[in-house]
Subunit: 311 residues, 2 copies
């Protein structure tokens, strides 16, 4: 008999929910609005109700459901305690207890970046590799460490929060976390733009990037087309990306490193850009790590949330 | 009925072996020589024989023994494959298969630094904390990451090899691994001596360290006695130590960080020395980590090897 599992990826605007088979076949993925009013007290009620409705619609009994995992935008410890999820209004909120009391099925909870990493390890760019590092290159840099097939959660749910490892000593700008010189100040989309603007200001070299406003994507597009200054910017970006990944890989020794997030749409050129500094800085015992691109896009969190229930 | 477990910590000169109860009570610890001739082919035979002899001596049946774990000085993957253990003469040697074929009891194997970390987590400085980072400050810097009570092995057994994370950009001296600016070039005993010699050469300030030869221990002893230059050297050492630990902690979010190895004999002054840079560089979500000193000394590996069998 088929057995089912649900995964939910709760964001500040919508919650993505998925119904999957236990082998990871995607049966039904849909979204509901995230109601953040009153400290987000209805969020998990809504997710639980959506799951219950789907079970009725498809005549799925409780006994056919392994459970439901949920990823949330905040640090979550192994007991399901979410210390803070600013975008949801939660503070010291036990996601596992609350979700279970509403859904009455087995549940698990994790940080959304970590859960997405598990999704990519299960069905995405890291499939087949029990030791994986996901590096998410978005507005910030997030990440997740999969160790022997499971999320490395850490003491307070900040395992894999690699965007804030220290990378550069003489940085004058502060990171969002308050420190100076964090990995994400260079390797995020925001970081790439910062590097681009600094290098454009420091040079008088011609570049298509000088023709009005540009976005992070334009830098890599221009570099692909051979714009000399854009190539230099992309190389500088790759230097920092490779250095940060090298340090992280030297701590946890992943078999594969998966790049996700908006910047990863630049594609395989990123591997060429990061490789010189990765090779320079990585501990030789960890240098054989493979690189891959994330495959699941916005579905990674739903897959990972479901996978939490099957291990 | 009492159940027993054996642990062995194999070094290049001797192998320490221990008989413990499954709750970690130390019943009998002893040493045998390590025979490294012929690519170390007799090493595990000798350890197995020593364990079998101990069982006979104490009338312990096979059914009373949970098994025997072994820590070795080289990277070991989750399948027990040791890629290289230079001091033992091994290369691509499956420790689990070989040890099991000789002992005929359940066995496990791990890298000695990782196994020592597990020992400290079980019965030493990290007791009671399932998420622990051990930093071993010896001739080099070793380490081990304990995640939810288990060793983080990594893809090729180099998980927790934190001595080789990149720390300093402008280092001219090469590290033993071939890279430049590795954590262990500053935070090991050798690193402390290097810092001391550099600072002595760069200053004309008076110091007891100028009275002939000195060792790493003398630097910290002089600092404790208020020797001004020795204090500056110790502070510089602490700066690097705190920075390297901060980066590592920001990746894996340990609840407690345990300092072991020869330099850790300087004691709690190390916490004061490392704290300013630890606080400066650590991701705020990981800043609440506790610090402690290792407690088991040379027994840590035996405890950890035994503990591998009980989880």
């Amino acid at each position: 008999m088929a057995r089912y599992v649900f995964g939910a990826d709760v964001g500040g605007t919508t919650a993505k929910i998925g119904l999957l088979t236990e082998t990871g076949e995607k049966l039904d993925f849909w979204e509901i609005p995230t109601r953040t009013e009153n400290h987000g007290e209805m969020i998990l009620t809504d997710v639980a109700e959506a799951i219950r409705n789907k079970m009725k619609e498809r005549n799925i009994d409780d006994s056919d459901v392994i459970g439901a995992g949920v990823g949330v935008p905040g640090a979550v410890n192994v007991d399901g305690l979410c210390y803070q999820a600013v975008n949801l209004g939660w503070e010291n909120y036990n996601v596992v207890n609350e979700f279970h009391s509403k859904l009455k099925l087995p549940v698990k909870a994790g940080n959304d970046a970590n859960v997405a990493a598990l999704g990519e390890a299960w069905k995405g760019g890291g499939q087949g590799y029990p030791n994986m590092l996901l590096v998410t290159l978005g507005t910030g840099v997030g990440g997740g460490i999969i160790n022997e097939g499971k999320i490395l959660t850490g003491a307070k749910g900040s395992g894999g929060e690699i965007g804030h490892i220290h990378l550069v000593d003489d940085e004058v700008d502060a990171c969002g976390c308050g420190n100076h010189g964090c990995f994400e100040q260079y390797a995020s989309a925001t970081g790439a733009m910062r590097i681009a603007k600094r290098m454009l200001a420091a040079s008088s070299e011609d570049s298509v990037l000088r023709n009005g406003d540009f976005e992070c994507k334009d830098v890599f597009d221009a570099a692909k087309k051979g714009d000399t200054l854009a190539v230099k910017i992309a190389e500088q970006y790759g230097y920092y990306l490779g250095k940060g990944i090298a340090i992280t890989a030297s701590v946890v020794n992943p078999e594969i490193i998966v790049l996700g997030g908006g910047v990863s749409k630049a594609g395989e050129m990123l591997f060429d850009l990061l490789m010189p500094s990765f090779k320079k800085y990585v501990f030789p015992g960890c240098a054989s790590a493979k690189f891959a691109l994330a495959k699941l896009g916005n579905d990674a969190g739903v897959y990972g949330a479901a996978k939490m229930m099957i291990q």
